[in-house]
């Protein structure tokens, strides 16, 4: 009986810890943030809760809205009640540094949406890079292997757009940049 009771207690504590972890994920997601495994462990330790061995398997299995992403050297969690997968992946890219963030965003837009994106997009929320950081990242890309496809198109209003040559041909990207920046404003 004693053994069963201890087991029940342990199970109860593990369940509570798992629920607390899921609540933390939802809370952070509603604030637009991912949560790492280490952050979850720290929180549980702060609250003197034991982190169950199976916690990180249980979280997505037992909570329909909780999802795991891997990258930036860790695993991260988000709740789809408050955040789409695409937004969560963007936050993960932010953690992987500006080069990945810029390049993958540009590639996704060129491939899935067939459009270049304005450079200033990356100075706005949720990217929040400075213009200089974006320019420095582009300069670094031009010197480093693996980013050769990232290219620049300028409009007649001197606005710089970025696109991936792997998905958009140069003339096409230039035409689209002019249309998006100048054409649409003059064609309201």
């Amino acid at each position: 009986m004693k053994g069963r009771s201890e087991k029940n207690d342990r199970t109860g504590r593990e369940d509570a810890a798992a629920e607390r972890a899921a609540a933390l994920i939802r809370e952070k997601s509603s604030a637009g943030r991912l949560v790492s495994e280490s952050e979850i462990i720290s929180l549980l330790e702060e609250e003197r809760r034991k982190c169950p061995d199976s916690l990180f398997t249980r979280l997505p299995d037992e909570n329909e809205d909780v999802h795991r992403l891997s990258g930036a050297g860790s695993h991260f969690y988000y709740s789809s009640r408050h955040m789409t997968e695409i937004y969560a992946r963007l936050l993960l890219l932010k953690l992987e540094g500006p080069l990945r963030l810029i390049a993958e965003t540009v590639r996704r837009n060129s491939c899935a949406c067939r459009r270049p994106v304005p450079l200033d997009l990356f100075t706005q929320p949720p990217f929040n890079l400075t213009r200089q950081e974006v320019l420095d990242s582009l300069a670094e890309m031009s010197r480093t292997e693996g980013w050769e496809d990232i290219a620049v198109a300028s409009t007649s209003a001197s606005v710089v757009f970025l696109y991936s040559r792997a998905h958009l041909e140069t003339g096409h990207a230039e035409m689209l940049a002019e249309w998006l920046d100048v054409g649409q404003v003059q064609n309201p």
């Binding site: 637009g32 789409t84 695409i86 937004y87 067939r114 200033d120 929320p125 096409h172 035409m175 689209l176």
Partner: protein, 707 residues
């Protein structure tokens, strides 16, 4: 409070107010008896024009009518119901004036209904300047000699002083008084209907003031109506029904940098009493729809956020497409109010005259030019013709035409250096001269493109070769034509007598959703995913494109007749992921049915819309005196077929079209509409099908119906 309604129908107020300014007589007609088959708005406008204005009438003749008409949804709780259609003979339509409509937002439509009227039809010409006072059943033609010569703001204030702050005033400025064709009527000092100010001026009608104390009866059950309105609100996107945000948001699967949904955490109304952060604006939060769009920031750049006070707009519209700006430096610099408000072309009015600005294309000088432009144009009552006057001006000046056409004294009277340097003060020299018809340049620009070209012996054909100039035909520019919407946009632009102001097609194509999602929805509405292409990746003509074009133009007429905003409606897509981004193309009929009690479904309302547009076509054919519309009317400018890059049509990176393919498009479009392929004129059978047999007979007597 009295409640409107007629013969068991809700929605309509029940009366059309008639005013003859020549005789001073005012009387009313029964809306249901005379106009129910045409709903309201442009439907009433075209019907009056057909019945009462014979071919050959000129815009400024006393026999011409100007019809301010609204529909059964105006003044109800239906979202986006603030539009008044203003129909008349269009003074800038070249080489001959033909019927067209302008559309005025604000609160005028609702007030007119609350006063008990679905329309005001003005005819005749007053002996001296007058304004029309409508205060419920009390209708008076009042002396306007004291306000003639004043700008729109002054006239509005004066009439509001007489009628009270609850009244809405639609007034013309000096441009309209001086019979400048490029003039507007404007309600609540920023909501304009372009092109009609001079028609009011020709009748010596300075303004209409409306005060109404009634309400509109909703025929359906209150709880059903409230449920429907709440459902409708969930389908709304941002301005122009863009349904994704322009930057990534936690709730959004998709974003598009050119969406007008530009709310985001960190973007604030910087000039409000305290900064208001627009936030993430989750689409399920219908209480924050008004934060989604900041049109000043969209059109003028990020600099506008700092000077934004708030959004403003029309009756029962949460979109608030007019952005109120407060730019204190312009008061000291130019002696104008620091506060101004408008939307799209109204915001751009001043800036669009300039080629460049000293601090770049998105800087402070451009913003100041916008403030100066709004201050002047919205008081003088000048129309931009969808910014054609600004494009014309730049081409004429930089092409050396202005210098050639003006005598040396007049040319020197302008500060051209200021102009070239992008100094907004130049607008104080140019715009008042347009409104006053002062000098050769002011007079020519005020006539509208077609008559200006004729006056200066310039070729319309040449004007139609320049894609950047955006000129289309008959004195007017393209408005979401092939550069934007491929064959569908081209077809819609062919059939109107001014720029078509149709957004049903472009709102869908620019809604921000990825092409595969758009194609899925398009297949459900227009029968094939082939209906839509991406800009710069057009494909040859397909029957579904003709269906989309027909559907779009019919929905435009339906919205203009029901009084739903054609800049927001229809709601073919929505921001809702759980609906897979589908909107609801039956929302118009659901609203109509509950409001009026008239049990018509989507298809039946579309048929009425087709009747209305058929009447527009019949009016055009009768006035032109020919059935050869394909050749004589539905003309296409050369720029549609050319591309500087030299790429072949229907390849990536170009939007130009193939000539043979466009002829196929016309064939398919005419087939869809039941019009004769050879002439582009509706057949007798088509007129009869839509209850317009008598019109077919009248036209047939003049050999204007194809055999």
């Amino acid at each position: 409070m009295k409640r409107m309604g007629m013969r068991g129908y809700g929605g309509w107020a029940g009366k059309v107010l008639r005013v003859d300014l020549s005789t001073g007589r005012c009387w009313t007609e029964d809306t249901i008896e005379r106009y129910k088959a045409y709903l309201g708005g442009t439907g009433i406008g075209y019907k009056v024009m057909w019945d009462e204005v014979p071919a050959g009438t000129k815009p400024f003749d006393p026999e011409n009518r100007i019809i301010f008409a609204v529909g059964p949804l105006a003044g109800t709780g239906a979202p986006c119901n603030g539009r008044t259609a203003v129909t008349t003979l269009w003074p800038t339509c070249w080489p001959e004036p033909l019927v067209a409509s302008g559309h005025m937002g604000g609160q005028f439509a609702a007030k007119l209904k609350y006063a008990g009227y679905d329309a005001v039809v003005i005819q005749g010409k007053a002996a001296h300047p007058v304004w029309l006072m409508i205060a419920d059943q009390k209708v008076e033609i009042r002396d306007a000699r004291g306000i003639w010569g004043q700008g729109i703001r002054g006239a509005t204030a004066a009439i509001s002083g007489i009628m009270g702050t609850d009244a809405v005033v639609a007034a013309i400025g000096q441009a309209g008084e001086n019979l400048v064709p490029m003039s507007v009527v404007m309600s609540s000092v920023s909501h304009s209907a372009g092109g009609v100010g001079s028609v009011m001026g020709s009748k010596k009608l300075k303004a209409i003031g409306v005060r109404g104390s009634g309400s509109i009866r909703i025929e359906g059950r209150k709880e059903d109506w409230e449920k429907l309105i709440k459902y409708h609100l969930t389908l709304l996107g941002a301005n122009n029904q863009h349904v994704v945000p322009n930057s990534p948001q936690p709730w959004a699967e998709f974003d598009n940098p050119t969406s007008r949904w530009n709310a985001s955490p960190g973007r604030s109304w910087g000039a409000s009493a305290y900064p208001v952060d627009t936030g993430t604006c989750d689409p399920r939060d219908t209480n924050r729809i008004a934060y989604r769009s900041n049109n000043a920031a969209f059109f003028l750049g990020d600099i506008a956020w700092r000077y934004t006070v708030r959004g403003n707009g029309c009756t029962s519209c949460p979109i608030r497409c007019h952005t109120m700006l407060k730019v204190p430096p312009v008061t000291a610099k130019y002696g104008i109010s620091a506060v101004g408000q408008n939307t799209c072309t109204g915001l751009l009015f001043g800036a669009a005259f300039f080629k460049e600005f000293p601090d770049g294309p998105r800087g402070m000088a451009r913003l100041e030019a916008c403030m100066v432009g709004m201050n002047l144009a919205d008081d003088l009552g000048i129309w931009c013709n969808y910014m054609q006057v600004q494009r014309d001006f730049k081409k004429l000046y930089y092409g050396g035409v202005v210098e050639k056409k003006l005598d040396a004294r007049e040319f020197r009277s302008y500060s051209w250096k200021k102009y070239e340097q992008g100094d907004p003060a130049f607008l104080f020299e140019l715009l008042p001269r347009i409104a006053e018809k002062k000098g050769e340049l002011g007079t020519a620009l005020g006539q509208g493109t077609g008559y200006m070209l004729e006056r200066w012996s310039l070729s319309e054909e040449e004007w139609g070769k320049d894609k950047d100039l955006a000129y289309w035909k008959m004195g007017h520019p393209r408005h979401h034509a092939s550069e934007d919407s491929g064959q569908c946009g081209l077809l819609i632009n062919l059939v109107y007598n001014r720029d078509p102001t149709c957004h049903a097609h472009t709102n869908f194509l620019r809604n921000g959703l990825p092409l595969p999602v758009q194609k899925k929805i398009a297949a459900e509405i227009w029968g094939s995913a082939e209906a839509v292409d991406a800009v710069g990746e057009y494909k040859p003509m397909h029957p579904s494109k003709a269906r989309m074009a027909k559907w779009s133009l019919l929905r435009k007429e339906l919205h203009d007749s029901l009084s739903l905003c054609s800049w927001m409606a229809p709601w073919a897509a929505s921001p809702l992921r759980e609906r897979e981004y589908r909107g609801d193309v039956s929302i118009e009929s659901m609203l109509y049915k509950l409001a009026t009690g008239d049990d018509k479904d989507r298809g039946e309302l579309d048929q009425i819309a087709e009747r209305i547009f058929l009447l527009h076509r019949a009016l055009t054919i009768r006035a032109m005196g020919t059935k050869e519309m394909r050749v004589r009317h539905d003309k296409i400018p050369e720029w549609v077929f050319t591309d500087k890059s030299g790429r072949p049509p229907y390849t990536k990176g170009t939007t130009h079209l193939d000539r043979n393919d466009v002829q196929t498009a016309l064939d398919m479009f005419y087939d869809e509409l039941g019009w004769d392929r050879a002439t582009g004129a509706p057949t007798r059978g088509t007129y009869r099908k839509f209850g317009l047999g008598s019109i077919a007979e009248a036209l047939a007597k003049r050999n204007l119906v194809p055999e």
